[in-house]
């Protein structure tokens, strides 16, 4: 039996872990880039690694922009969606009170602050039904510095993959430097426009040191983006991109939707898996 108090504590742990530490695959990738760098790239990558070390040791958020929180819940039939939502809200309130979250949520017109980050549809929760087995909560924390530079658009079929490549590279050229590179660039291709955006976000949960199903295209994009020489923090030195991740779905015969999810170096994602017996794993 999953006790609600336990789930509540675990979701709080999930939020805190996402905010104060960096997933090991991202950390490894950063360290690898640091090892190969020099000059201003090296100075800054060192600061980023030092920052992660300080944050993890002191249990304070890596970045003061503690982001908006998006939860993706894989929900088996034994789990109540309403109860999960309640537990998540409770955990977000508590995380805000304990200063693991800045009060980031505001009303879009009045800009009035939502004091505990719960309200006006926030935190954002998506439920993905599954027929059986374990439940899983994936949390993506995304700050505005990189989220403000995400974009979605529709290409025509005749523009094709070549058009897609130049659109992605042009976009990173314009907006990448201000998004805290080295970046992870999530590209969602196909589906409807909103589904392309969904894919571009969801793909960030796959390990960043592995290629996906479209690994050739990922590598090509990565090479082209690095040729822009935007560099670490846009200062012209060192790597611009840590990894390009692509996810795709079938699209309408008359369209080619593309979403570009610009993700800063601080990819803050964590997952909580649990079963009906109340056994939890956090990673």
């Amino acid at each position: 039996m999953v006790r609600w108090e336990t789930l509540s504590e675990k979701v709080l742990e999930l939020i805190v872990a996402a905010e104060v530490s960096l997933p090991s695959d991202v950390k490894e990738q950063l360290a690898k880039l640091y090892g190969k760098s020099s000059g201003l790239a090296k100075v800054q990558l060192k600061a980023l690694l030092d920052n992660v070390e300080v944050a993890e040791r002191k249990r304070v958020p890596i970045c003061q922009d503690t982001g908006l929180l998006t939860f993706y819940v894989k929900k088996p039939p034994w789990l109540s969606a309403a109860a999960v939502k309640k537990v998540i809200h409770e955990a977000v309130r508590k995380a805000t009170r304990e200063a693991f979250l800045r009060t980031n949520v505001v009303h879009p017109f009045t800009r009035g602050v939502v004091e505990d980050n719960v309200g006006l549809d926030n935190p954002i929760i998506y439920f993905e039904p599954r027929d059986d087995g374990e439940a899983r909560i994936d949390l993506l924390v995304k700050g505005a510095g990189s989220e403000n530079n995400c974009i979605a658009f529709s290409l025509t079929p005749k523009e094709g993959v070549e058009g897609l490549i130049s659109a992605v590279v042009d976009h990173v050229a314009r907006r990448g430097g201000a998004s805290c590179p080295p970046l992870i660039v999530g590209v969602g291709i196909g589906g409807t426009l909103d589904y392309a955006v969904h894919l571009s976000k969801r793909v960030l949960f796959a390990p960043i040191n592995e290629g996906g199903e479209a690994s050739e295209l990922e590598e090509k994009l990565q090479r082209e983006i690095d040729r822009l020489e935007i560099g670490v923090m846009g200062l012209g030195e060192g790597p611009t991109v840590m990894k390009v991740k692509i996810a795709y779905a079938g699209c309408h015969t008359a369209s080619l939707p593309v979403a570009i999810n610009i993700q800063c170096w601080a990819l803050r994602r964590r997952s909580l898996v649990f079963n009906e017996k109340g056994e939890f794993t956090l990673w």
Binding site: G39, V43, T103, M233
Partner: protein, 185 residues
């Protein structure tokens, strides 16, 4: 990538003009003095004050304006900053010129660079320093004290935090006192 020596400076604010002039693009600076955080809403409110000929409740002369919305915690009767990296400076483009010109700002600290208008305003007056984006915990480590906080009604992120810092860095000289910039875009 060109391997070269990085020049490091320990800069105390307020600084004399010659000191600012000696800082070259790509130099690394560790800043000691007062940082005053200002984001979108603080800039807008400050400009409103200035347009009405009113005095701001805080001083900027000889200090650094920091594009930052810190995460702070109030406990035992005082504020403590937990995480305080820079926010995107380009979002504030068009809001900074007047503040730099009228209020004697010597240093702007942010990330991602500033546009032409801000560079023009800084020319002969001050410099722009880039602190590594996202390094909020590291930044908070060199904040010794929250001297004051103004305009908290704008929310924690948008309020004006007056921060006493020691050897705050690594900051990179990204716009020099002549208005030259490291950014290509």
């Amino acid at each position: 990538m060109v391997a070269r020596d990085i020049r490091e400076h320990y800069l105390e604010l307020p600084a004399v003009e010659e000191t600012l002039r000696s800082l070259k693009l790509g130099d690394v600076v560790y800043l000691t003095g007062i940082l005053v955080t200002m984001r979108d809403r603080a800039h807008l409110r400050a400009l409103e004050y200035l347009s009405k000929g009113q005095m701001l409740p805080f001083k900027l002369r000889g200090k650094a304006v920091y594009h930052c919305g810190p995460l702070a915690k109030y406990e035992a009767g005082r504020w403590r900053v937990l995480s305080a990296g820079p926010t995107t400076s380009l979002r504030l483009e068009g809001l900074m010129e007047k503040i730099i010109e009228l209020l004697g700002v010597q240093v702007i600290v942010g990330k991602g660079g500033v546009g032409e208008g801000t560079r023009r305003a800084l020319r002969g007056r001050g410099i722009y320093l880039a602190f590594p984006g996202g390094a909020g915990a590291l930044a908070a480590k060199s904040i010794e004290e929250v001297e004051e906080v103004y305009w908290l009604d704008l929310g924690m992120a948008e309020a004006v935090w007056v921060l006493k810092v020691r050897e705050f860095g690594p900051c990179i000289v990204a716009v020099d006192v002549k208005g030259n910039t490291l950014y290509k875009f």
